[in-house]
């Protein structure tokens, strides 16, 4: 039996956290199948199908590489194309995940109002479906790195923790904002604006070392910086300050997780009242 085999007892609106987490874990098969559905439905009608999932970040990185090496000159430690792609990859995953996850519970209201499963499933499905497109992009990243002559050694192994950190950060943040959007429907616009600013506050197109003074402080404590730098460390090479940024990222991830847990514990069973 996959989930809720024993039925349920509802008294009051708050859900015990342990039971909620157990329920989410028991629903992993549901997350997997919904994520698969989301991903394949997205590209089903497109002639090039899944190529788009990999193609779009490649095109974006290509454009940025041309603009920033030939128009505005930024000197990175390694080849700029690889450098940018290593940043674009986790950033695109993170930003597209959090922006779709924000509205995920509200978007899922057809299902949500009919059948119970933990509402955390909705943002988790977004994370899962974006992972489908992400995995082949890692191969593309290393093709870039090899093609443009980056020095790859044991640092390649860092790609594993890098992906883990990316998933953890995106998941915890998504789980935290999705409930907020149920209550405050302007959160999606706040997120759209925030992502725009956030992109420039993250060293995606410039190296971490290029930010100075107070700007450096901001970029360093930015939750997304550690994630991006870890991807650099695993491919194009990161700036010296990356362990500090990574520590911040992990700290933020824990904080977002606590926020997410508190929100879901309180509102999991009553989101529907506002859908």
């Amino acid at each position: 039996m996959t989930r809720a085999a024993a039925g349920f007892e509802l008294r009051g609106e708050t859900r015990p956290l342990g039971a909620l987490i157990a329920d989410v874990w028991a629903s992993r098969q549901l997350v997997a199948i919904l994520a698969r559905k989301e991903f394949f439905v997205r590209y089903r009608r497109a002639s090039f199908g899944l190529l788009w999932a990999v193609g779009l970040p490649v095109i974006q990185a290509g454009v940025l590489a041309v603009v920033f090496t030939h128009v505005i000159r930024i000197h990175a430690t390694t080849n700029y194309a690889t450098f940018v792609f290593a940043g674009i990859l986790p950033w695109t995953f993170f930003s597209s995940t959090i922006s779709s996850a924000t509205t995920s519970i509200v978007d899922g209201q057809d299902l949500a109002t009919k059948i119970y499963f933990p509402r955390a499933i909705f943002p988790l499905v977004v994370v899962g479906s974006n992972l489908y497109g992400f995995v082949p992009s890692i191969a593309v990243l290393y093709l870039f790195a090899l093609g443009f002559g980056s020095h790859l050694g044991v640092n390649v192994l860092l790609i594993v923790p890098a992906v883990v950190v990316m998933i953890a950060l995106s998941t915890s943040f998504s789980l935290m904002v999705a409930p907020l959007h149920v209550y405050f429907r302007d959160v999606r616009y706040v997120m759209t604006a925030a992502i725009m600013v956030w992109f420039y506050a993250t060293p995606v197109i410039y190296p971490l070392a290029r930010a100075h003074g107070w700007l450096h402080r901001i970029v360093e404590i930015n939750p997304a910086t550690g994630m991006v730098e870890l991807f650099r460390a695993a491919s194009a090479g990161a700036d010296h300050g990356w362990p500090v940024a990574l520590a911040w990222t992990i700290g933020w991830t824990l904080a977002f997780s606590v926020g997410a847990a508190l929100l879901h514990r309180r509102f999991d069973r009553v989101f529907v009242d506002l859908l």
Binding site: G7, F8, E9, L10, R11, G12, E13, K37, L111, R185
Partner: protein, 397 residues
Amino acid sequence: MITEPTTPVVQLRDVGKRYVKYEDSPMLVSGALRFRAGHRRTKLWAIRGVNLAVGRGETVGVVGRNGSGKSTLLRMLAGVTAPTEGIVTVRGRVAPLISVGVGFHAELTGRENVYVNGTVLGMSRQQIDDRFDEIVAFSEIADFIDTPVKFYSSGMFVRLGFAVAVAADPEVLLVDEVLAVGDLAFQIKCFNRMQEMQAAGTTIVVVSHNLNAIRNLCPRVLVVHDGEPRFEGPTDDAISVYHELLEQRRSTTAGGEPGGHVPGPVEITGFDLFGADGQPTAHVASGDKVTFRIRARFREAVASPYFSFVLANEAGVPVYVDSTFLLGSRGVGAGEERTCHVQVPLAVTTGSYSARGGVRYGPEQEEQIGSQSVLFYVAGRELVKGIADLGATFEVS
């Protein structure tokens, strides 16, 4: 007949649900500033004080009009929302048969949707594999199973949805208006399937205002009205109570409707239904000779008034419209009263009906005044469908 089970599968104890209604939807900024209590929001009990115990294999109906709280009740049973007070207990897996096909994705094929929907309903991949052929067979769409469901007819869509939901083989099945869809043959198939599930020990809760479905499936019914449980007991009694409640509501709101107190030369002072036994009723059997009594008071003298009568079914379709026009009529003096008895053999099928009496008058009979509708329920012969029960005899040779 109904045995009190020792451990109910579905149990509601003093359950109430209160919604917070914001007058304007909460905004991020103003919402954050809104710590003061009672600011621009009203709390509203959707339903309160519900106690219900449903045992294994039992089927219970819940009736109530829109806004009575029955959907909230259903949501709590599905576990989708938590009660504000009281305890909701469901022992076993719940599958809602609510708007079947929810979660179907138009771009996906029937086969893919079966897997997605089955998982949503709590089946494992293995279970879906095992029951796949059964699902396809039941839905009767084997030829289209690999076609995207956007090409399905609404009937096919519903059939597949129902097939998946029943294949999930839940301990508790929640049914919401589902029997109103699909063609007749499939409805009978669903109905039979639900009876099999009943026999196999599935607990079923049917929430509907289709009294036909309720009557066919449930020996016991809970009536909810204005957010309160009003009656719980045998179906026929419950349906009578339900109709009485609808009546009460109409008479209390009568003043607001046009025709109620608009001063005109004619006033309808009463419109009532009496069963075959001559007693007022809201629940009759098909074929009963019932009487509707229209009473009118004439404030002014009216030359040649006539009485009219309209009977409409649940869908609002007029089943029978007639009047005393061809009988001719004598003038009525100011201050006089008239009563018209309309005797009707109700040869109609099972369902809710509404009737209205009226008076037409004026030089060209262009003026008219109608009564409030009377709502009542007709219990028809089993399996007779359609608008009228013409009572055909069949001879097979």
